[in-house]
């Protein structure tokens, strides 16, 4: 395998031309270093084209249409579902539900599975490093049913504290939901191990893989979780595409989430019965174009090979952590370079507010994010209001890292002046 894939360090530069947006320069002729891929990745031309061709050649509402266009649109939609299933090694495409994004996927589980299974006094376990999208849905559930929420703690270098996990598991939580990879720190959590322990304790386990799926090969069967959610728009696909994977037996036992066309078996004014999975959870006209784009994106990533993607990003992260370590006044959060640090780097620069850092970087056409990264509890734990964050995708390269380091030095010069 290793011989047929591009060498990890060249993955970035060699495929940059596939991404039209990366060809932009700023008014000073500087190339774009897009280092906000953890928020949303850029899209290769094949994905953009897949969506346009869908609308120019095959568009129609799906299901129940007996004419050719509708049959073709239905086929494209279900092919995309199959592509999703292969990408994460699901046992069946039926286990893959299209959602708008990770957020909707987690809300689906919290509202449908949650309201049917979580009771007054039950414990819901999340973590201190969760994204708001894996916190708030559980809060809404907890409030509705009277459950309690507790968070697994983290160590100072941003790793989950497995002792803290064990203490919470001893209380036999109903749900354990945790991030595959931290979007703020890049920490790759030991997902299989956490799942194993949580299931042993009798919990139902959801993996928020919004940052896992873009960076790592994901195999839901090997992981052994009950639910896994990710966002298409973070894996080179259009915004508006996301996935909830769930174990078939769990999904089949779940009541509907949203009600409407497509998710019913029979409707009378007074009562209705529900369609099978996955239709039961896809009420209304789905975002077929976005799903088709997701299929194309996953095919593109499969061609690159997710093992190569992951190696590329790990090498780049290692390089970036080295470069930033050379800069006095720069503090990097999260684990040291290594297998458990994916391509997300959060840092602060002494005496310069993270937003000011990001603004100076933007002046150099280096796009990074500054803020709480939808992780306010984590920021509180780290004792910062915000950080600046650089994050990588398949198209990121060493030049981007060099330009990041230089722009940080420029910020330091400006603010030291």
């Amino acid at each position: 395998m290793a011989t047929t894939i591009p060498a990890p360090t060249t993955l970035g530069a060699s495929i940059r031309r596939d991404f039209p947006i990366l060809q932009q320069e700023n008014e000073r002729g500087q190339r774009l270093s897009f280092l906000d891929s953890a928020a949303s990745s850029q899209k290769p031309q094949v994905v953009i084209d897949a969506v346009s061709s869908y609308y120019a050649e095959e568009n129609a509402n799906i299901h129940r249409g007996v004419y050719t266009l509708s049959e073709r649109a239905t086929a494209r939609y279900e092919e995309a579902r199959q592509e999703v299933a292969s990408f994460i090694n699901a046992a069946s495409p039926k286990e893959c539900i299209f959602t708008r994004n990770t957020t909707e996927a987690i809300n689906l589980v919290a509202q449908s599975w949650g309201r049917a299974n979580v009771r007054n006094g039950d414990l819901i376990v999340i973590t201190e490093m969760d994204h708001h999208s894996n916190i708030v849905p559980w809060q809404l559930l907890a409030e509705a049913v009277g459950a309690e929420i507790a968070a697994v703690g983290i160590s100072d270098d941003g790793r989950l504290d497995l002792e803290s996990l064990n203490r919470l598991l001893a209380r036999e939580p109903k749900v354990v939901a945790f991030p595959h990879v931290s979007n703020a720190l890049g920490t790759v959590n030991p997902a299989a191990e956490i799942i194993r322990r949580a299931k042993q304790a009798g919990a139902t386990v959801l993996v928020d893989s919004a940052q896992g799926t873009p960076h790592l090969p994901v195999d839901v069967r090997a992981l052994g979780a009950d639910f896994l959610a990710f966002s298409g728009h973070k894996v080179l696909a259009p915004m508006g595409s996301g996935v909830l994977w769930g174990r078939l037996d769990l999904l089949q036992a779940m009541p509907p989430f949203l009600g409407g066309g497509g998710m019913i078996r029979k409707v009378e004014i007074g009562r209705s019965t529900w369609a099978d999975v996955p239709a039961r959870f896809e009420a209304g006209t789905p975002a077929v174009g976005d799903a088709v784009g997701l299929g194309a994106a996953l095919r593109y990533l499969t061609r690159l090979d997710m093992a190569a993607v992951s190696a590329h990003e790990e090498a780049l992260t290692r390089y970036a952590l080295e470069r930033l370590a050379e800069l006095p006044g720069v503090t990097v959060f999260g684990p040291p370079a290594g297998e458990d640090h994916a391509g997300v780097i959060s840092f602060t620069v002494e005496e310069i507010h993270p937003h000011d850092v990001a603004s100076v970087l933007n002046g150099e056409n280096v796009a990074v994010r500054a803020g709480h990264h939808c992780c306010q509890p984590l920021m509180a734990r780290l004792g910062v209001v915000a950080t600046t964050r650089a994050s990588f995708s398949v198209y990121s390269d060493r030049d981007d890292v060099d330009r990041l380091a230089e722009a940080i030095m420029k910020a330091q010069r400006i603010f030291a002046a």
Partner: protein, 129 residues
């Protein structure tokens, strides 16, 4: 762009904020945060008759929010309440003298929003400053 944004006056005000601190027994006071960036600004005002007799600000956050608040305290010192109420977004932008991009606008306007909220006695809306 970055050189333009962080001109000397901004950097100067953010490094050496004017009227920084708190007033012990303020006639009006208000504090707010910019939820998106976490910038915090508090404004304490002592009003005598119909005018600003003393003003102090405190808080933390980015250079834009803190410099803008600092400049604002200089702008309003000694002014009548009517004059303060009449200060517009454009006045702040003029005073800053640098191009503020949409994403940083809330930082630039936080001081004004807080001051007007203090003076009106009700929270002011970002959009209608």
């Amino acid at each position: 762009m970055s050189e333009q944004l962080y001109r000397e006056n901004i950097l100067d005000h953010s490094r050496h904020p004017r009227n920084k601190g708190e007033i012990d027994d303020p006639t009006a006071t208000y504090q707010d945060t910019n939820p998106l960036c976490g910038d915090e600004v508090r404004m304490d005002v002592r009003i005598e008759g119909d005018a600003v007799a003393e003003i102090k600000f405190s808080g933390r956050g980015c250079a834009i929010s803190q410099a803008s608040a600092s400049m604002l305290t200089e702008m309003v010192a000694g002014q009548s309440l009517e004059q303060v109420k009449a200060i517009s977004r454009e006045d702040i932008l003029d005073e800053l003298g640098v191009p503020i991009s949409p994403a940083r606008m809330k930082c630039a306007m936080l001081g004004l929003k807080v001051l007007k909220s203090a003076i009106y006695g009700v929270p002011q809306d970002d959009d209608t400053l």
